[in-house]
């Protein structure tokens, strides 16, 4: 056994995050660690690498007891880790981030050229086009994720831990990552893989361990394990319907009844001017590869990068969208892709985070009463099944998926008329995933219009009434009705001249 964990226990104030958990990792296996949001997966990893101090439990590596006190010490033992929240330094260059702590030196000084070469080599297996001299912070979450992975892979002599590494990657990048993982497995490394994408788990893993409420409920070989049984292990009950695929009617709104119109909005270098009309209660999907202009479209619509051309208007005339505040005032909401930097306010409580957008819209002089805040918080904790010991817990102390739910709750509490969701289900478990899709149907039935950006095409197919395809910073196609199917979308994304009907929706 390469790595063993015996009766690991970890408590936080108000929560027992891990309760006497056992875990074994063999050399040359990919071992998936599964469980609902807040089950304790990330905590297990952090206790293992010394990022958290465990309360009880023994760890052994190659038979010898270990007790790393810090991530650095774990690295020296040969345990490389990619944490769920990328924890690199955004204002250092990519090369510096990759070689940090082990920069090549010449005459006692950092050798810039050697460092760049080394960095480029480290990234070479991932098929990304990155200038290693640029600051890491200027790249998308996906690229940052890949940089973090590349760094961990190089550092891991014996064990590689990947905590939701694929959450922000598209299928091409996932395939590349899996190639790297397979070759490491062949070299005899043990790999721990955490993910909420069960397809990926089935594709790459040899064994799975399932955690529920901090307890280990099962460890099994993946071969012969049924998907539904796995989900049952995770949730503790059966899932009613995993996705609503195929049941959604895909009825685009009647063009004459669309109330919100964007005409020729765009921004040079970000996204070419596009038109968009939205009907009440309509769900529009935005599909495309990473960097194709999906997020940029959302940023223009929400005034984060104000449009240089065109106008937005509704029944009552023109709407100003020069900054997010004006967008919020116009009744727009935006749940961003990168919840850590753009979404949560980590030190504020769950309650305060949920009330924040509504409060901003009301203005500082009209505070939301404490009773009302409590009511909102309790409502959404219950509605979105946010796992927290109470509403006063700091959001930063919640598990990744639960933080995501808080960001969604913040906007739902404001009840926007047009809600832009950028990767809304990132890091969210299967149970909550289905719940959120159901929630989308519910709020749209009440008249809210939604724009969903997602790399998960199944998800788009499950909720969208029509899908707009973005490629090379242009809206190139619109799919409606029966065309809203995974393979049609894939074809429209890939084909230079997609055989789709409407040009530039």
């Amino acid at each position: 056994m390469l790595l063993t964990i015996r009766s690991l226990t970890k408590t936080f104030p108000g929560t027992r995050a891990l309760d006497s958990v056992d875990f074994d990792l063999r050399a040359g296996e990919v071992h998936a660690l599964l469980g609902e949001n807040g089950a304790g997966k990330s905590t297990l990893i952090k206790c293992l690498t010394g990022a958290y101090q465990r309360d009880e439990g023994e760890l052994t590596l190659d038979g010898a007891p270990i007790s790393p006190q810090s991530t650095l010490e774990a690295q020296e033992l040969g345990i490389g880790t990619v944490y769920q929240e990328v924890n690199l330094l955004p204002n250092l260059t990519v090369a510096e981030n990759l070689t940090f702590g082990r920069q090549p030196t010449r005459f006692g000084m950092v050798d810039g050229r050697a460092m760049r070469r080394q960095a480029e080599e480290m990234l070479s297996g991932y098929g990304v086009d990155v200038d290693v001299r640029r600051d890491l912070g200027t790249y998308s979450v996906a690229i940052q994720q890949i940089v973090a992975i590349a760094r961990a892979v190089t550092l891991s002599g014996k064990v590689l831990i990947l905590d939701e590494p694929t959450a922000s990657l598209d299928s091409r990048e996932v395939a590349m990552l899996f190639d790297v993982v397979r070759s490491l497995r062949e070299q005899g490394l043990g790999i721990i893989f955490i993910s909420h994408f069960l397809d990926q788990v089935f594709e790459i893993s040899d064994r799975v361990t399932v955690l529920r409420n901090g307890c280990r409920v099962a460890t099994d070989d993946i071969a012969g394990l049924e998907r539904l049984r796995l989900i049952e292990h995770m949730l503790g009950h059966e899932l009613e319907d995993e996705t609503r695929e195929g049941r959604h009617a895909h009825v685009p709104s009647d063009p004459s009844e669309r109330t919100l119109h964007f005409e020729g909005v765009g921004r040079r270098g970000l996204i070419e001017p596009f038109d968009l009309s939205v009907g009440r209660g309509e769900v529009i999907g935005l599909a495309g590869l990473l960097g194709s202009g999906r997020t940029e479209s959302a940023e223009v619509l929400f005034g984060i990068k104000p449009t240089q051309t065109g106008t937005a208007r509704d029944e009552n005339g023109e709407i100003a969208l020069r900054n997010p505040r004006e967008a919020v005032a116009a009744g727009f909401g935006f749940a961003p892709e990168d919840r850590k930097t753009d979404g949560i306010v980590a030190d504020l409580s769950v309650r305060e985070n949920i009330a924040l957008a509504l409060q901003a819209r009301r203005g500082w002089a009209r505070p939301i009463s404490r009773a009302e805040q409590n009511r909102l918080a309790d409502h959404y904790i219950d509605r979105l099944d946010i796992r927290t010991s109470d509403a006063e817990k700091a959001v930063g102390d919640l598990s990744g998926g639960n933080q995501q739910k808080v960001v969604l709750a913040r906007w739902l509490a404001m009840n926007p008329r047009f809600f832009i969701l950028d990767e809304p289900t990132r890091g969210i478990d299967v149970g909550a995933h289905a719940e959120i899709l159901r929630l989308i149907e519910e709020v749209t039935a009440d008249g809210m219009s939604i724009l969903v950006i997602s790399s998960e095409l199944d998800e788009l197919v499950a909720v969208a009434d029509r899908v707009i395809v973005v490629r090379d910073r242009r809206h190139v196609a619109q799919l409606t009705g029966a065309e809203v199917e995974t393979d049609t979308i894939v074809r429209a994304i890939a084909a230079p001249d997609a055989d789709s009907d409407e040009e530039a929706a």
């Binding site: 900054n323 997010p324 961003p336 901003a360 009209r366």
Partner: protein, 342 residues
């Protein structure tokens, strides 16, 4: 209320310990007498002498909560003091003196706030500009000399008292209470904390962080104006070179001793005010204890170090853990989570 008490408990304990310590060296320390219609005693003296730092600490708390810092408050104090002395000498009367001083403070804050919020300059650099230039401006106003005045009304703000309580004390207590009420009874406190913790996310949530930032620096300038008024009124003259000299550092220290993080976010004005009183107690205590004056700064530095180490987030949970171990309940530390958050 209990939550407020809980928040300021470390500062209250520190203050009590310091007062006990000073009493050892100077047994009459806690004595307060009532003579000539005014309260007198070392404690009253601390409450009065600490006024400028306490006033500056109010505004500084808000600025630091937004993850900024205002190095210019000492210089702003000098400018505003000079304005009030000039206005009084030029015959604008008391209202004119106070009005000009407050306007100058707000203008200084607007300048700082614009540099930070509109031009995106790092707060420490942005306010450094006024910190260095401000004394020059004050000297221009006083024309390079100590501008003295004879006006009982203005002098009252420095040396007068109401019901035996010194005016400077009343001013900082009143302003502290007003600002605390303003930020806590409205949503301002929450919004300030939010932009201090994550400005980007707050802006995306629709908060007008630019205006809020400017407002916070203006609040700091306003507080500095009152500190300047009190200092000028006290000596019946505006000294552009020395008024408020280095007080920005004491104000920052007061905020830090008050347990507010320089990284922004959660803040407590009450705790900062206690921090200001802690600093003044150290200053006054050293004098009363009768140490040779060359020891003053060393002793002050040592005491501040001890206080900060005792309050440090790396140490507090360790104490808590030891205490818990003694009581036999399982350990869980904020410390470890903080580390992991890096």
């Amino acid at each position: 209320m209990p939550r407020v008490i809980q928040r300021v408990l470390p500062q209250l304990l520190t203050l009590a310990a310091l007062m006990a310590l000073v009493s050892v060296f100077f047994p009459d320390f806690l004595e307060i007498t009532y003579s000539d219609g005014r309260l007198v005693g070392p404690v009253i003296d601390i409450l009065k002498r600490g006024a400028p730092v306490a006033l500056l600490a109010i505004g500084m708390t808000l600025v630091i909560a937004t993850r900024g810092i205002d190095l210019s408050v000492g210089a702003t104090m000098a400018i505003c003091g000079a304005c009030s002395a000039w206005a009084i000498s030029a015959g604008y009367g008391l209202a004119g003196a106070l009005g000009f001083a407050m306007l100058a403070g707000l203008a200084a804050g607007l300048w700082n706030g614009a540099l930070v919020a509109v031009f995106g300059i790092q707060p420490i650099v942005a306010t450094l500009i006024l910190m260095t230039a401000g004394r020059g401006v004050a000297q221009l106003i006083t024309e390079g000399r100590i501008l003295t005045f004879n006006h009982e009304g203005l002098a009252f703000f420095g040396s007068g008292d109401i019901l035996g309580v010194p005016m400077p004390t009343l001013i900082w207590v009143l302003l502290g209470v007003l600002v605390a009420l303003l930020v806590r009874r409205t949503a301002l406190g929450l919004l300030i904390e939010a932009i201090g913790i994550n400005r980007r996310a707050s802006t995306l949530a629709g908060i007008n962080s630019r205006v809020l930032l400017i407002a916070v620096y203006m609040a700091s300038g306003f507080c500095a104006a009152w500190a300047g008024i009190v200092a000028t009124a006290d000596i019946r003259g505006a000294d552009a070179n020395n008024s408020g000299l280095w007080l920005e550092l004491d104000a920052i220290l007061a905020v830090v001793i008050g347990g507010n993080s320089l990284l922004g976010g959660r803040f407590s004005i009450a705790a900062s005010l206690l921090g200001a009183m802690i600093i003044q107690t150290i200053d006054t205590g050293i004098l009363l204890a009768g140490f040779p004056s060359e020891f003053n700064l060393v002793i002050k530095a040592a005491l501040v170090l001890v206080i900060l180490v005792l309050q440090s987030p790396n140490l507090a949970p360790r104490f808590a853990r030891i205490a818990r171990r003694r009581r036999g309940t399982p350990a869980a530390g904020k410390l470890t989570t903080r580390e992991a958050g890096e």
